[in-house]
């Protein structure tokens, strides 16, 4: 293929290949500049978008960005591509797809049928032609529903991961942060710990504690310790209380090797988790994290821009029907996403591309202290993502993760989002909150004051059980 060129007012912009068009068409971000792939000027960026808009979608089925023979993610993408689902849009250009996705005709049912016909590269390409409002408007039409002990992703709902991390995995400290989060009605996506010490025995202790807590209060949710998938297999063999198998994933076989995984290991873990039959209303047992910059930091990006190769990780996720996936958007650092503007854009892109591909995307709306970002940027991103229908967000006490040393959302922020958008938690979890008398007469979460009857009851029950 190929003449990748565009002329504007007598000046012609040429691009070496498809990868270069995609990279130069990306909104500006530090990771592509670090990799030497970014557009050299704003005009070149727009020229790349003009070239991209005129490319036929079929080019992505003819020109794999990483050769089929070299990469199992490419093979996964091509071997599972649904030609029948692709047929209705097979005549379109990338620009034509953008207009079509925005049309009234492309409603939830149409987009659901279309998802298996789209490859990650098509989703990435079309996202590069979109303004933030396009990303939000189309994401909102994509509905991806998953189930384990509750239902995540229904329209009008916003779930949350309660993340009670502790710098030394102290069980009392983790239980205290968990209790705090439950009083804000968070934790319907998962109660999930990033362990400070990532070994099998510690993981089993943490899982036992979380499972005990869940059963004592009869909470319709799932719990997880975010340990490496190979540890998870050992934990399951040892009879640990594992609801969900967690793993960080990336968009190339080589980058996944850097994480110490491949598709076979993921399959093995999924089969082990399915055989435990711990889900009550569904069997979506996987939980994945992704994030722009992961492939580049592993030196395994193959000259592909960070947003496109991130999207290829969603092909991995999609193959395992996960309950939860989230981008850790602001966590990876300013050398990949420099400031609030870049983090916000990337969060919206990741959510859009995943949802378009049928992946139940949530987001860790977050930043590190060496990024040019603050709470105002997080307010903007979480508000936009909730408008876009994000499946879940992550929340920690007071927005301060004392183990990973970065800032995510606060439990309070989940209340704000629910209140501003009228978004409700997963239906099963909502019933539990009602049963526990956690709502006041106006349907708002009661204040967790010493007088709060639920707080007193939870603490009393905890004391009796201890």
């Amino acid at each position: 293929m190929g003449n990748f060129a565009h002329s504007f007012r007598g000046e012609t912009y040429r691009f070496a290949d498809l990868k270069a068009v995609l990279a130069c068409a990306s909104a500006r971000r530090s990771g592509d500049e670090l990799a030497g792939l970014a557009a050299e000027s704003d005009a070149q960026r727009v020229a790349a978008r003009a070239v991209l808009a005129d490319l036929p979608l079929k080019i992505f089925l003819e020109e794999p960005l990483i050769p089929y023979a070299e990469d199992e993610i490419t093979r996964l993408i091509f071997d599972t591509h649904d030609a029948v689902a692709f047929k209705p849009i097979s005549h379109l250009t990338v620009g034509g797809l953008r207009d079509y996705l925005l049309s009234y005709e492309a409603d939830t049912a149409v987009l659901t049928r279309l998802a298996p016909g789209l490859t990650p590269e098509m989703a990435a390409a079309v996202s590069k032609l979109m303004r933030n409002q396009d990303l939000i408007a189309i994401s909102r039409k994509c509905v991806v529903v998953k189930k384990f002990r509750n239902t995540i992703g229904l329209p009008g709902r916003l779930s949350s991961r309660l993340q009670p991390n502790h710098p030394t995995d102290d069980l009392r400290g983790i239980a205290a942060s968990t209790l705090d989060g439950l009083l804000y009605g968070t934790g319907d996506a998962v109660i999930g710990i990033n362990p400070a010490t990532d070994n099998v025995q510690n993981c089993i202790s943490l899982l036992d504690m979380l499972d005990g807590l869940r059963q004592r209060y009869d909470i319709p949710t799932q719990t997880c310790v975010l340990t490496h998938v190979t540890n998870a297999i050992e934990v399951m063999n040892a009879g640990g209380a594992m609801d969900l198998v967690f793993q960080s994933i990336a968009g190339s076989e080589a980058a996944n090797e850097g994480f110490g995984i491949n598709l076979n290991i993921l399959r093995e873990a999924q089969e082990a988790a399915l055989s435990l039959k711990r889900g009550t209303i569904g069997n979506d047992v996987m939980y994945f994290e992704t994030g722009q910059g992961a492939a580049l930091s592993a030196g395994a990006h193959f000259g592909i821009d960070q947003q496109t190769i991130e999207t290829r990780a969603y092909a991995v996720a999609r193959a395992f029907s996960p309950l939860l996936v989230n981008t850790v958007v602001g966590f990876i650092g300013p050398e990949y996403l420099y400031d609030g503007k870049q983090i916000i854009r990337a969060g919206l892109e990741d959510h859009f591309c995943a949802k378009l591909l049928g992946v139940p995307m949530g987001c860790d709306v977050c930043y590190t202290n060496h990024a040019e970002a603050d709470q105002d940027d997080m307010d903007t991103l979480m508000t936009l993502l909730t408008a876009a229908g994000v499946s879940f967000v992550i929340a920690v006490p007071g927005a301060d993760d004392v183990m990973l040393n970065y800032q995510s959302l606060a439990y309070h922020d989940v209340l704000y989002l629910r209140s501003v958008f009228g978004a409700r938690p997963a239906p099963e979890f909502e019933i539990w909150l009602e049963k526990m008398d956690m709502y006041d007469a106006a349907g708002r979460m009661r204040l967790p004051t010493p007088q709060n009857p639920v707080l007193r009851r939870l603490i009393a029950e905890h004391r009796d059980a201890a």
Binding site: E33, I332, E335, V402
Partner: protein, 257 residues
Amino acid sequence: MPNIAMLPEDTRTADPWEKLRLATRARIGLGRAGDAMKIADVLDFQFAHAKARDAVHTRLNVAALQAALPGAIHVHSEVEGREMYLRRPDLGRRLHPDCLAQLPPGDYDAVFVISDGLSATAVEQNALPMVEAMMTRLSGFKIAPIVIATQARVALGDDIGEALGAKLCAVLIGERPGLTVSDSLGVYLTYNPKRGTRDSGRNCISNIHAHGGLSYNAAADMLAWLMREALRRQLTGVGLKEASGLLVAAEEPVALT
């Protein structure tokens, strides 16, 4: 199941979070103004974030360090300015060619490189006492002049150690600030330092600071043990980590959680 709440029977008036706070530094049991945090908590958070950002962006006071460490050599990476430092970690790992002449080769067992990293505050608070604690523990070592490196990543020590011909390079570097602690120092030890060394070939002692972190004496004991063992076994990294049974091999910050 841990006993998380040993509260008095009557919790009607007491703050039920008081006991729970003993178990975690997390910001639990905050109040609410409507759905939001109370103003005191908002400002406390902003203050902690400001301290962390200041630690990242403050320039290391090299003159003060040199005054305290007569004979110390100042070098810098290829980075110009803090923004470039944050955007281009690759350049922060490379010694600026102009600095090479200041590092004549010698017969050295070890060199200490004091690096600003992501927290000049951490270096200003902790580097001198840490170096002093080391000097009393390394009798018999041929130590190179101390090097102060600015706009430096850990791997800049590889270029420095290689130029000096030192068998070991110990990089004392400001760690990425958190909200709770913005002046934590880390030490990365590398045997046979040279450009291109993988991070799995280093050992790391982290979290050295005066607010409940590792003490200078404890860190210096560990580092001195590591340095002697590294010379004896002619390695650092995973192999030495396994031998010590208690220390972790160094890693760059992980990409994903």
